[in-house]
């Protein structure tokens, strides 16, 4: 019988590309669609970030900190908040000031660098840590990789970077008969604690909350707290997209009323809120081994949403193949652009899984088809590569 809840939400928005055509290569045209990125960020800030931050801050204060949670914000969303919606950034800082929020570490660019280049991965993780310290005055102790992508080989690097624990997907193929509601350790680095997502309970809110065809609908805070209590284990790890509140699930679905009532419904049933930094100090019940990269996405819980077809593989490989050339150019702004291209969303838009069914992948995509996403990305990458070559020191000397 579960007695504790660990609530965590991910905040991220990518830098979306312009409709960059082959004619734009070499013209010095910008790569990112500032207008679209600003519009989307402002919309999400208004519908989700600002009202949710305000509500959570109230709940934390009213409960004297008994209600608490963890958040992680990618570096690219923090940059965009500062540029496009400073009032939303302030509201995150106000939420942090309540003392009830733990910030987690991740890659600055919400990238797949862990799968491609460990040197780049470390650089991005350290840059993210600096940014969180700068914005929120605290140092993350627990790590969550992009889309909870984790496998055994990554564990020593996470530990080496100074984290005590990591968030992982409570995937059936890893847990088997075991409950996700315990603290586990990493089989490949026993000092690292693993907190496995309870995908059943998490998706009840994240995906199914407004599905009228689902037997559990409507989800009230009381009913949900009952489900948590009756779930086997010690602590239920509920990991969500922050945009669940007000964006994926609109205000009209009752998601804010649900969130507002959740703490008291939990307290009434003797449930306590606990943060990742507390859990990772506990003794683990057993080691967990992840033989292959596992994520929180799709039914497969693997990385096929990002690297599941030949287009995605080709784009991903090409990106990391030109990294050295961009670095050698000695131009920081070119490297910055390269890193923005490393954001996982760009390859996610190229996903053709279930494409014919018009599913969730397309809902989040700014492109008409995955093929348009590929063409725009490759054109930008080509442009970046040629810019880097033109700027390379030896070329300049020769000129």
């Amino acid at each position: 019988m579960t007695r504790e809840i660990c609530l965590y939400a991910q905040v991220h928005q990518p830098y979306r590309l312009r409709r960059f055509r082959v004619f734009d290569i070499g013209t010095g045209a910008g790569h990112f669609d500032a207008q679209q990125n600003r519009d989307i960020l402002r919309r999400v800030a208004e519908k989700c970030y600002i009202p949710t931050n305000r509500l959570l801050a109230d709940l934390i204060r009213k409960s004297d900190g008994r209600f608490n949670l963890a958040l992680s914000l990618s570096g690219v969303v923090l940059e965009q908040l500062a540029d496009y919606a400073p009032e939303a950034l302030e509201s995150f800082q106000a939420l942090a000031d309540t003392g009830g929020v733990e910030f987690l570490g991740e890659t600055y660019y919400h990238s797949l660098a862990g799968l491609a280049d460990l040197g780049e991965f470390k650089t991005q993780v350290l840059r993210h840590r600096q940014l969180i310290e700068h914005r929120f005055g605290c140092r993350p102790e627990v790590f969550r990789n992009t889309e909870l992508i984790y496998w055994d080989e990554l564990a020593p690097t996470i530990l080496e970077l100074g984290y005590r624990g990591a968030l992982v997907e409570g995937a059936d193929h890893v847990l088997g008969w075991r409950s996700p509601n315990f603290v586990y350790s990493a089989a490949s680095a026993p000092a690292l604690r693993l907190l496995a997502r309870n995908y059943q309970l998490s998706d009840d809110v994240g995906f199914r909350f407004s599905q009228r065809s689902w037997g559990g609908w409507p989800v009230t805070a009381e009913k949900y707290a009952d489900w948590i209590v009756s779930s086997p284990g010690d602590s239920a790890h509920l990991f969500l997209d922050y945009e669940t509140f007000g964006e994926h699930q609109w205000a009209e679905t009752g998601i804010f009323a649900f969130l507002e009532r959740l703490p008291s419904a939990c307290f009434d049933r003797g449930l306590k809120f606990v943060q990742p930094k507390t859990l990772v100090r506990r003794q683990p019940v057993a080691p967990l081994s992840f033989a292959r990269p596992t994520s929180w996405a799709d039914a497969e819980r693997d990385v096929s949403a990002w690297l599941g077809n030949r287009l995605q593989d080709a784009a991903h490989q090409r990106l990391y193949a030109v990294r050295e050339a961009v670095l050698r150019s000695g131009q920081p702004q070119l490297m910055e652009e390269w890193r923005r291209l490393s954001t996982s969303d760009h390859v996610y838009y190229m996903c053709t899984k279930y494409f014919a069914d018009g599913d969730v992948h397309q809902y989040f995509s700014p492109y008409d088809t995955p093929y348009d996403a590929f063409v725009a990305f490759m054109n930008v990458l080509q442009d970046l590569e040629w810019c880097a070559k033109a700027e390379a020191p030896e070329v300049r000397m020769a000129g």
Partner: protein
């Protein structure tokens, strides 16, 4: 269920997709147990009929009867393919005597209709099906005689073929047929909208049945000989070279693509009134040596063109369906099609563009030529998609049969 069907184009008398669609529909209907008596104004191609018998093991081909109405048009002595364009017909210039849409088109249509009554009196049937305005008159005459429900199959309207400057007499006949019909079958939602908005047909009278294509056509003799070396990319336009199909946009795309890919060649397969202008434009763009005009293609040559192409571009201004896209995908050739085409409602694994946005189309062509991985992916997924039930010949036939059933029920209600 027995259907008395009035068609117009039927191989080898073929100017466009209507013949292909008719063959596909009749094949599918026979397989789903509907008896079809097909009436066409030209001698039908004998080679098509045994082909049907071959593909149907349980022998429903016996229920296909093709009536040949004696025609002043000469007998079949060589294929007249993708013949003359409609705009030229309107100008009543004398053209080849075996043209599908001849010089005295309205007289032909009336003569066809005059014979329809007699056939309707002789042939037992439960309903009448007609294809586009050209056979509406025949359908109306048959209905006057037999009092059976009339279905108007609509594949394209005069607005699609000629824009706003269409022939008023054809508009009149389209309106007459559509309003007299018990039910209307449209091959896409975009065409249904047009029928409802432009012709005032009640929306609940129109069923949408997208075309299928099937995969059982005899494959072309392989390996298909290509005049191009294997490493030369070929960009294909296939269709009538008329305003409706947007060949002029294709040429602008060719001009832009040739700046990025100096090896690419461009194939314009089809004939029509815009050909001279296109040739001049190719010369102006300095790519005359890389743009090849094949004239109208027929039968195996169509498959050959798709197979030698690296990518097929369809910049149609108006495309109620767009069977070319399905033919291209079936040949494993990725296709760029207009967002507004009927086929875009059912195909997902293709680039969808605005026909006028030649920069965007060129951008996509360049990408397809540049990245084999993109080409292969679209080719494989396109083939997978075509293999699904909705693109078979049976599924559209079943939906057509359901629409026929509704027509019979509606006909009964109306007495």
């Amino acid at each position: 269920m027995r259907v008395l069907m009035f068609g117009w184009e039927f191989p080898p008398y073929q100017a466009g997709g209507l013949a292909t669609a008719t063959v596909g529909l009749v094949t599918g209907l026979l397989r789903t147990g509907v008896e079809v008596t097909l009436v066409v104004p030209f001698p039908a191609d004998e080679s098509i009929l045994p082909g049907f018998r071959l593909v149907s093991a349980d022998g429903p081909a016996e229920s296909l009867r093709v009536h040949r109405i004696p025609s002043p048009l000469g007998p079949y002595d060589g294929a007249e393919r993708y013949t003359e364009v409609f705009e030229r017909i309107q100008s009543r210039r004398p053209i080849g005597s075996r043209a599908v849409y001849g010089a005295h088109l309205f007289e032909e249509v009336e003569r066809f209709a005059a014979l329809a009554g007699g056939i309707a009196a002789r042939e037992p049937h439960d309903l009448i099906d007609t294809h586009d305005w050209i056979s509406f008159a025949a359908g109306l005459e048959a209905q006057r005689v037999s009092k059976k429900p009339l279905v108007a199959h609509i594949h394209a309207t005069e607005y699609d073929r000629s824009g706003e400057g269409g022939n008023p007499e054809i508009h009149r006949r389209e309106r007459e047929g559509l309003s007299a019909a018990t039910r209307v079958i449209s091959n896409s939602h975009v065409l249904k909208r047009q029928v409802v908005e432009r012709f005032g047909v009640p929306a609940d009278k129109v069923d949408v049945v997208h075309w299928g294509i099937g995969d059982d056509r005899t494959p072309p003799p392989s390996p298909a000989p290509s005049p191009f070396p294997p490493d030369v990319p070929v960009v294909l336009f296939l269709g009538r070279v008329t305003r409706q199909k947007g060949p002029d946009y294709f040429l602008e795309v060719a001009g832009r693509v040739s700046q990025f890919n100096t090896a690419a060649h461009f194939l314009v397969a089809g004939s029509g009134d815009l050909l001279p202008r296109l040739m001049m434009r190719a010369a102006d763009l300095g790519i005359a040596h890389r743009v090849h005009f094949t004239g109208g293609l027929h039968g195996a040559d169509v498959d050959r063109a798709f197979r030698m192409a690296t990518v097929c571009v369809m910049p149609s201004v108006s495309e109620p369906f767009g069977l070319v896209a399905l033919e291209s995908l079936r040949a494993g050739t990725p296709c760029i099609l207009p967002k507004t085409a009927g086929v875009a409602e059912v195909i997902t694994n293709a680039f969808k563009v605005d026909f006028w946005d030649v920069d965007d189309i060129a951008n996509k062509v360049v990408a397809l030529l540049r990245y084999p991985v993109l080409r292969d992916h679209l080719s494989d997924l396109g083939l997978q998609e075509l293999a699904t039930e909705r693109f078979s010949l049976e599924e559209p036939a079943r939906r057509t049969r359901d629409a026929y059933q509704r027509a019979i029920e509606w006909g009964g209600i109306r007495g």
